[in-house]
Symmetry: C2
Subunit: 407 residues, 2 copies
């Protein structure tokens, strides 16, 4: 068998993206045992690190072993008892995903929608909360399908006033855009590593407020195979999933160290390194780096004569949608970029399929050189297809935006 041989792609799509080299190195660390004091100390350290990443004091801040949607499902299936009402404001594909996962967990799901490319006003969400009176509000912060960033800062107060649990999935936005769990009064947050945190997919950090923990603890049921005489089941209905049972997962991460899954140690080392990388560079500095890269990419795209997609006042820092001009073949452009330039940009889903490209500037790739190479290459490929543009305009605009940011 040939050894693994991968081309050196520059991943400038909506994620996954290239990992930070130090994150890759951490993943080749040899293991220790599951209950080795060295391992449990690293588990505790990871909890502390992600409290900083999430800007929270929540004790229950831990990893779900799976991709980002594993984190979503763990939060929803643990909180939702069949028939519970859940409100999901949908402004892109991942809103549909939250609704779908909540439905499968047995929820009575109500959605409100805005056209793809827009976000919600807090009043729209409050009005829906009044009508629906849900147990839980589930909303995506950044939806890569549309590149929009839903403002969350006013929603926590509304949820508290109406006694609604407030959950957000911030997989696509965390690390590249401000996120403040406690100040925004969030009760549950789930994320992934494969966007601005600069890791691979496969681990889903979550944080849970005390209010949220109280709700899920009412459904605590310990596994038969490890149950001792001192374990008593709670009165609430048993959570429909064993793998995503947050009370059991909390007891594995907590002082009880009650056996559940075998922690995916390599992904834990990876998640640790993603957090250390963010915190050592500084959360504000990393967000600013994403903002500069995003601005330069946007400016370059516009200078090339391309039209960005959606409401630019609510664009995520880390990804831009680009309307594919009528006269070019969007998939042929992507194909040439990949196969001749080793650069990947993204296509889109659902109503935007074939209509926009999505170009990301995330994590390790929120870098000036990555932005400049991508703009130059896109320009070259567009020129080859006969698209009318001023040669050099895109990259020059990006250089200028970087120069101004440096002053």
């Amino acid at each position: 068998m040939k050894p693994l041989t991968l081309p050196p792609r520059l991943l400038m799509g909506p994620g996954p993206i290239n990992c930070y080299p130090r994150v890759l190195s951490a993943m080749s660390t040899q293991l220790v045992g599951q209950y080795d004091p060295v391992m449990t100390a690293y588990m505790n350290e990871v909890m502390a690190l992600y409290r900083q990443v999430f800007n929270t004091q929540n004790q229950q801040t831990l990893l779900i072993d799976g991709t980002s949607r594993a984190g979503i499902e763990a939060v929803l299936v643990s909180a939702i008892e069949p028939g519970d009402k859940v409100l999901v404001p949908v402004f892109g594909r991942f809103g549909h995903l939250l609704a779908e996962i909540a439905e499968r967990a047995g929820a009575n799901v109500h959605t409100i929608e805005v056209p793809w490319g827009e976000v919600f006003q807090p009043e729209q969400i409050e009005q829906a909360i009044r009508q629906v009176q849900p147990k839980l509000l589930a909303v995506v912060q950044g939806d890569t399908s549309t590149t929009m960033l839903q403002p969350l800062e006013h929603l926590g107060e509304i949820c508290r006033r109406h006694d609604v649990l407030f959950y957000s999935d911030a997989t696509a936005s965390i690390g590249g855009n401000p996120f403040d769990t406690d100040a925004w009064q969030l009760d549950a947050v789930s994320v992934g590593l494969q966007k601005c945190l600069g890791g691979p997919s496969g681990s889903a950090p979550v944080t849970l407020s005390e209010r949220f923990v109280e709700v899920v603890r009412k459904r605590q049921h310990v596994e038969a195979g490890i149950k001792d005489a001192h374990h008593h089941d709670a009165a609430g209905s048993r959570i429909r999933s064993n793998y995503f049972d947050l009370p059991m997962i909390m007891d594995y991460w907590g002082e009880e160290r009650l056996n559940h899954h075998t922690e995916a140690a390599t992904m834990l080392f990876c998640a640790r390194e993603c957090a250390v990388n963010l915190l050592e560079e500084g959360q504000q500095a990393v967000i600013a780096r994403h903002q500069h890269a995003g601005n330069a990419m946007l400016g370059g795209i516009q200078a090339m004569g391309l039209q960005p997609f959606g409401d630019l006042n609510h664009k995520m820092n880390n990804v831009v949608g680009v309307n594919i001009p009528d006269q070019v073949d969007g998939e042929a452009i992507r194909h040439t970029l990949l196969h001749r330039f080793n650069i990947e940009i993204g296509t889109s889903f659902g109503p935007l399929k074939g209509k926009i490209w999505r170009i990301g500037t995330m994590g390790y790739n929120a870098r000036q050189d990555a932005v400049l190479h991508t703009l130059q290459s896109l320009e070259t490929v567009l020129r080859q297809q006969g698209f009318g543009l001023v040669a050099g305009a895109g990259v020059d605009a990006a250089l200028k935006i970087y120069d101004e940011a440096d002053q």
Copy 2:
């Protein structure tokens, strides 16, 4: 922050164990995009490799992104509609786990039990099938909690005769003991990497027969956010989990390449390397290596005057249970082995908690030197605690068993 700094433990417990160095190296490989033809080619290659690992022709052979119990839950929640009858023969902790996961999926679960340390006769299982008439039989092959290996070779024929789906979790045994999916007429198998395959926890290979696929396809529902006009929902009830929805996962791994999760690329590289390592050394050779290491460890334990646990005719090759002698403090022994010798051995669960140690010889650690160091160190620590034994007897017995195996 200090860089990751882990002590060089020799992991001789029931798993996780030390990874093969080549597996660790593979995990520091930089990524390509999710739909990059290089990535999808590796996904196809991994499917082909695991068909060899499982000894099957099953097209649907793929990875579930999560730990081994994620694979269990994907199989069970996709197959079981609420009220379906499931039969679980329980001979240790992981039988209880299968029952528990099936119950949470809504099954009407029937269990039969033998004392920990024993396995079932096929007739016992057939009798229960006659009584219960289940939709599915779920049985663990190797249960590390007792070190027992349930023979499976006669159960497939029984299941076909009674029109029952036959599922086994072989996480603890695959790679170190014979496993033959097609010859044994299994309909679904799930495993993990962290035992004899020599990887970390975090990816769960599964294989599904056509018969099984037909059952779960009846419940196919495509996600709203990516649904096109040509997608039609099947008549069966929607699967209760999005993350573990096997029809959607199959369409992501299949030619449809319909977006579901973002494949955990690093864990895929890791799973690939685990399989390549097994197949390059040769499945029979690896099983023989586990058998020799297991025999040498058992012989050494017995020569030291310790009593192995359970029915030795049905012991897994890769782990032995050792009755903790009355006069020694089992946890103190484990503590000294870990902190002075950097060797980890295991404790146990439930009825065996505090009564046996579990000593593994798995994957990379199914090696002569690992066996010899462990026996010598255990002897030294037992002597220090005043346990009467003939110095050198354990390691000498193991050396002799290795010498005889070489002839």
